[in-house]
Amino acid sequence: MLDKPSKWRSALFGGIAIGLISGIPVINLVNCCCCAGILGGGVFTYYLYREEHTEGMVPLESSDGLILGIMAGLIGAFVQAVIHGFLILLFAGAQEQLMRSIMGKILDRLESSGSFPSDALDQMRDQIENSMKESNTMWGVMLSLFTSLIINPIFAMLGGLLGYAIFKSKKPQQTLPTPTTPQ
């Protein structure tokens, strides 16, 4: 029976996806709902790995989903930090202006739709303003990297396990025997 494919390729692509979702302004708002972007990245990583897996290889196990998720989460944290630092270096002031303008439009739209109370919108404006001030420094990038290195692997691991549950083949797989001591 052939060995399973290497996990690095899928983890790298999954990590890049997580980093892009978490690092690009506005898109990273997806993570406001229990890290949905990172969870989704974990599921995507497992999906990529399953696509590389062919018949005749050692069957996939839930531990593959767990390891893939952790690897993708860690890679994603570094990709996110690189994107974050890159945006600061390139666009420093312009990026802040652009973000302010985009967020202003989104908040105005939410206000006109009436789905958010006005005090909640004011608070969101303050939070966005504060987070922009804090994050647009190299210290902000390092702090963000530190928290991402903790949070990303946890949620991406859960995503990897969910990916295993979602994409698991329905036909019974031949499982590896669990080694036990002779009684």
Binding site: S63, G65, S115, Q127, I151, L161, L162, T178, T180, T181
Partner: protein, 172 residues
């Protein structure tokens, strides 16, 4: 001690600590003194990476908001409830997870509630956030716990191929 039970205990404790941190943030902010307030701000900062923390959309304790919003709080606490109840309805060694359709059914109401609210189509309230978040969190636990135990048991047996029975999910 059975390995699966040990993994379950560690996982349950970790999730319990996570939920405790959500509740501890407002208590420490109000009653924690200067050191407690510093810890509370650290907790709020950490949780700000995973939740919008809007005051009007959060539960409050001692006059301060929880670490995460009401929807996230419902997800995490119902996930914890799912973990606590799981061994009463399923053996921990069971590798069976519900079909993927149930996962979809559990997540769709929450996504619809959030999306329709932000699109201005429907006004989501505290009740809809709690109910939809709780359903999703509870069902997540039914998928993640057996797979997490299975995955760690597999990793342990791969690391001990010569066969220490503790690592094969059997009694010591």
């Amino acid at each position: 001690m059975i390995l699966s039970r040990r993994i379950y205990t560690i996982f349950l404790s970790s999730v319990g600590l996570w939920c405790l941190a959500i509740v501890a943030a407002p208590v420490l902010r109000v009653y924690g003194g200067s050191a407690g307030r510093t810890v509370a701000e650290g907790l709020y900062l950490g949780f700000s990476k995973i939740c919008h923390q809007i005051d009007g959309r959060s539960l409050h304790l001692c006059g301060a908001k929880f670490g995460v919003c009401i929807r996230c709080t419902s997800i995490y606490f119902s996930f914890l409830a799912g973990l606590i109840l799981y061994p009463f309805v399923h053996p921990l060694e069971s590798k069976n997870v519900p079909g993927r359709g149930w996962l979809l059914l559990a997540v769709v109401p929450m996504v619809v509630d959030a999306f329709f609210n932000d699109a201005g189509i429907h006004q989501s309230g505290e009740l809809t956030r709690v109910v939809t978040g709780s359903i999703a969190g509870f069902v997540f636990a039914l998928y993640i716990l057996p797979l997490f135990i299975e995955a760690l048991t597999q990793l342990s047996s791969h690391r001990n191929p010569q066969g220490d029975t503790r690592y094969a999910g059997q009694t010591q």
